[in-house]
Amino acid sequence: MKWETVIGLEVHTQLTTHSKVFSGSSTAFGAEPNTQASAVDIALPGVLPVLNKGAVERAIKFGLAVGATINRVNIFDRKNYFYPDLPKGYQISQLAKPIIEFGSLKINVDGEEKTIRITRAHMEEDAGKSLHEDFHGMTGIDLNRAGTPLLEIVSEPDMRSSAEAVAYARALHNLVTWIGICDGNMQEGSFRVDANVSVRPVGQAEFGTRREIKNLNSFRFLQQAIDYEVRWQIETLEDGGRVQQATVLFDPETGETRMMRSKEDAHDYRYFPDPDLLPVKLDESWIESIRAAMPELPQAMRERFQREYGLSVYDATSLTSQLDAARFFTDTVSLAGEAQAKLVANWMQGEVSANLNREEKNIVDAPITPGLLADLIKRIADGTLSGKLAKQAFEGLWAGEGGVDAIIEARGLKQMSDSGAIEKIVDEVLAANQKSVEEFRAGKEKAFNALVGQVMKASKGKANPAQVNEILKRKLGA
């Protein structure tokens, strides 16, 4: 039997507010346990939550970015359950009336574009952490994270493969970091993915029974976990078994998923509207001012790069995978001239990207700036530098040796464009390579390239390749 995979994702994004969603405590990561836990965070008797407007603003930004409905009135509910790192005995979340509903996000897998629907996104507070080591059989509780603002983004079950799920998660990660509502740091848990996975025979309309894989904190684990889970579900069904609704955990060590709790153990969370918080009423003019301040979104920018600069889908997608890279690109293009956009793209995809990867740096920390790259591009465009020489100049720029012209001067990289001088070298090369000349005349096109190579070598790479080509052709009577 042929099987179809159905995947929906729930992504918890930590919002970039400096203080918590219902208290004034800092949200900074990595502080000593319980040093960022106020009376409100530890739920002392009598304390009350006060909503952080910054969290609401970020949720609205997200809603605008995915073309969603922004509920002008939305409501906080209490989700009740007992756990030591949940100080109030309930989590403040949004169930019936979330702030965001009905959005969508486009993904691209193997050149195929697909729209993934976003069911809803709601604000909620994070819990603290239980520390099971170092306490001699007891559990330590760290409430620094308690009350950190989260936006939980829930998709429809619109993905049909782990590749699509990863593409969606990446696109979402790209978007939330792009609009600045989440720092996207997956190691620190700022972007956590739960995957709801089921399989069904191809052609069947109803969904199969799903299992939810919790807390995947890398795209690789997301892919591995789904792939394992899908194989497991298909094998189970083909062996005549049944998949039972459950929550499972992925073990990166073994690459397997294992059951955490079945549906029977599911909590009754006894949701009800939190009487300590009034319904959130959003002012139209506030939404409009947020809309006005929105940056151009990656998808729009990608399409613009293709349209205006003639970039390929691949280049345009790659350059808009990160806001900083996109800004670097547009800044460089505006300095080097729009006609050089393709060349700028090539350099960013090539040397810039390779150097950044090697040194594990972000583009904002690179030694090269849009100004320097634009200068380099200009020297290529005006024929001062050949591609090969430009690479050497780039090395100089990366090493901080100064401006482009200074490096060309210091390294002696100026292209030889004096046709008399080139002709002289050509003559010498032809004289010394009679065998190649004969081969060329016998119809071997490759021999021509060998001769070009020899000329370039003799000129120490400085001869203008176009002129070399032209002169060689003339001399050989081709």
Partner: protein, 486 residues
Amino acid sequence: MINSSLKTLSAMLADKKISAVELAARYLDRIDALNPRLNAFITVDREKTLVEARAADARRAAGEDINMLGIPIAHKDIFCTDGWLTTCGSKMLGNFIAPYDATVISKFKQAGMVSLGKTNMDEFAMGSSNETSYFGPVKNPWDEAAVPGGSSGGSAAAVAARLAPAATGTDTGGSIRQPAALCGISGLKPTYGICSRYGMIAFASSLDQAGPMAPTAEDCALLMNVMAGFDERDSTSLEREKEDYTRDLDKPLAGLKIGLPKEFFFTEGLSAEVAQKIDGAIAEFKKLGAQMVEVSLPNMGLSVPVYYVLAPAEASSNLSRFDGVRYGHRTAEYRDLLDMYEKTRAEGFGAEVKRRIMIGTYVLSHGYYDAYYLQAQKIRRLIAADFAAAFKQCDVILGPTSPTPAFNAGEKASDPVAMYLSDIYTIAVNLAGLPGMSIPCGFSNDGRPIGVQLIGDLFSEARLLNAAHQYQLNTDWHTRIPEGLK
């Protein structure tokens, strides 16, 4: 002296006839002498009180002259009070020293009022007789066989016995007004959102409201001037212009339209003695120029069942934080986490609290939420609409505060429903978020106080205080002190 009004005490302090330390000491001596009988206070700390009194005297010596500076007050043990044991009447918080002040407490501190201690109360404010307190029942100063009412029974008894010239209370379903009535004092529950709930241990968040308890309406008005006001730490607190609650005290009542809801007077369980005293109060108000109009609150009969769905629902969630993990009681021995939770909560909570947690958990459960919680919310809106309609016909609604005078200790303790019905006249006011007040209007044949309730439209505290004050200028029920405690 112990029967002096806040206005008189304020004048004595201003004229330096007495210092804040001397005044506090007199009340502390009285507490030492009488509290062992009444059990109105859970915590008294002479030294802490005197530190506050000395600070008040220092402020006055430094030239500060604000009207409440140096006046003592007792606080219901539901308010977190920095450095004081704050128990909420429960074993669960029997060891909890609050590390911060409730907003209401800090407002009294800023005004220079001196805390005499923390008053006894029904556990987590759940009760109408003060019998559910872990720290033992409070006695009614008028008759020690009788309950003082609840849940602010300690505050009511302390004021009635003049162990304090004033006290704070909280009212979720009648917890200021009913004990005020049963102890023969005045008590005001303001409009929901007027006094900050920050630092007031939550019972039912959408109903809880702090308010003043004192011998007279005028005292209550002065206390409201201190304790009311917007607080950015309470999202349900209302941002309104500052009011002077004494501004209308002296207005004549001629032309005041008083609504008499027929449902208030034909309730099963309304005692003849109470009905008679309410009639007396109506006659008195008529003499003062008020007009009586009949009004109707058709859904009032549903208020008790609605309340006993909504209040326990919120309470079941509010009390989840008492889990033994971070503060308060934790059981001595346990096998695992679940065992720790179960034993801690089994030991830490009393029977009435457990009953309400169970009711609340049930009505919020999957499959019951729509039938109970949502339905109750709908009826709550109908009850509020009834009041809104009634206030188109009248300025103030009048009726009994409690269907009976104070009952005997133990009389209703084993019958929760009978106990719940003692709040039948007060609960609807909380459900509608309205201000309500109880003032003394007589005594039963066996000498137990009876209160009359005045209910106003939203934000009409000044009008209620005006009506109550004018009534008190022409009656003397509020000046009486139990024999033997003078």
